[in-house]
């Protein structure tokens, strides 16, 4: 789903990636505010992947600006994700602004739990049910089921039932294994 890069936008091959990494690390370090080099490195890696994907998708007209936004964003998301993970693995713990590190007792708690769940849902359906995959894309694209029904020429209730069956299939599949992401199953 890439869009054509605007004229003058830097492409993947135009970026000096070693310098980009060093720049991102400086941004992450500045916003992270703690001397945790391991975490700073991990966040820098995440920022680098996001930068690469952004440049591949639409190029970069202002590379430094883009890197500054991405570097700051990954730090903010890290803090928010800790709170989300804490709700999953320690749901009754104190919900203050700095919950205890959920990864301390559950090393599986990395990344964004919502993005990981979406990834599993989309990946599962993509290879197994094109119809469910289409509905999952519509749901994650925040398309209302009524609009989906109209677009597909089906009844609203039929679309709801189809999605329920899709979820049931995924739930049954998820039950035949472990996994923090899908303990809801």
């Amino acid at each position: 789903m890439s869009t054509p890069a605007p004229p003058g936008a830097k492409q993947e091959a135009d970026v000096h990636w070693d310098e980009a990494r060093a720049f991102l690390k400086r941004v992450v370090r500045k916003h992270f505010g703690r001397p945790d080099e391991t975490q700073i490195d991990e966040l820098t890696q995440e920022a680098l992947v996001l930068l690469l994907r952004a440049v591949r998708r639409e190029g970069a007209r202002n590379l430094e600006g883009l890197m500054t936004v991405i570097g700051r964003r990954v730090v903010i998301d890290y803090i928010r994700n800790r709170q989300r993970w804490a709700r999953i693995v320690q749901p009754m713990a104190d919900d203050g602004p700095e919950p205890s590190d959920p990864s301390a007792g559950t090393p599986e708690t990395f990344g964004d739990p919502d993005q990981r769940t979406r990834f599993v849902v989309l990946e599962y359906f993509q290879a197994r049910s094109p119809k469910c995959h289409e509905l999952a894309l519509a749901f994650f694209g925040e398309e209302d089921w009524r609009r989906v029904a109209t677009r597909l020429g089906q009844a609203y209730s039929a679309i709801r039932q189809q999605w329920s069956r899709c979820v049931k299939t995924l739930r049954e599949a998820a039950r035949s294994g472990t996994g923090l992401m899908l303990e809801w199953a």
Binding site: A13, Q45, V49, P113, R116, L122, G141, S176, W184
Partner: protein, 334 residues
Amino acid sequence: MATGARQDDTHRWALARFTARRAGLLDDDEERRMAEHLATCDSCRRQWEEDAAVVEGDGSPAPGPDAHIPAGVLAAWPRAAKELRGIERTMVREHLARCSECRQELELLGHAPELAVVPALEWMGQAREVPAAPPTESPHKIIVLKPEARRRDWTRWAFGSWAALASAAALLLVMNPGLIGPGRQGEGPVVTPSPTQTPTPVLPAPAPPGLTVVDRPLRLQAALRGEAAKLPERTISPGTRLLAIVVEPLDLPDRFPVQVTIRREEGGTPLEATVANADLASGRLVLSAGGLPLEPGTYVVQARGGPAPDAILPEPQTAEYRFVLKAAGTEGGR
């Protein structure tokens, strides 16, 4: 007390399912129970609203049909490779098998782009055989150079399409069956079993220190016959592991196959691979030492293709490029 314990259970139940709810994964009964709880519990409702605001406002594009492995998982790959479990582990493995971009991103982060099969972590459901992505989806063509650990005479070169990482191994094995033996840890294990093959446990590759990403491309111009032009040079730092190369396409259609050969003049066995003509100029041709630093020296790149079906002269086209990789600190006192 019993009422309080039940209330705690309901809190736990609700909080642990916020993510599933945002993914539309609650069934009707669960959705009803969640809605009832949120209607009466200020604390949980506040947390739900805070989370929802974060998700709505994070600026992420809506996932498209080509949704990739989340960046946070790739960034934490050493942990992810050991901790992912169940259906998520299988989905990541299936995605890696068909997504050249995610494989390349892992490689660029210094990791082998594969996820080992660990019986204790595996999903018991039915994994799918996912064909590797066709070469046309490849964001990069990777030339993988594998120096021999002791003699370092570059006789173990792998050279192949990054589109199917495993095909680098397959290609090498087919063309030069005697060149590669069982990999040993520490030698830059770029040759890996296919993710689509029957899974076998794979030792985690040693991540090179630091992060390696593709440097700005080195643009090469073909030397005219007899011309003694100064060879283009690129000074590389000791940790440089990848180098993108851009050369002129041959006078052939974009998708016309071109044989590319690369060798190091100081010694080594050249290997060949076929790329599309347009790839020569795309910046997608990347020289790699399989996780190890590139060696200084003089390199020769040869491209040969054609003739095109409608060519006036029924002769193949060729072009040769040479360049020098210099180690930083050897520029002659500049």
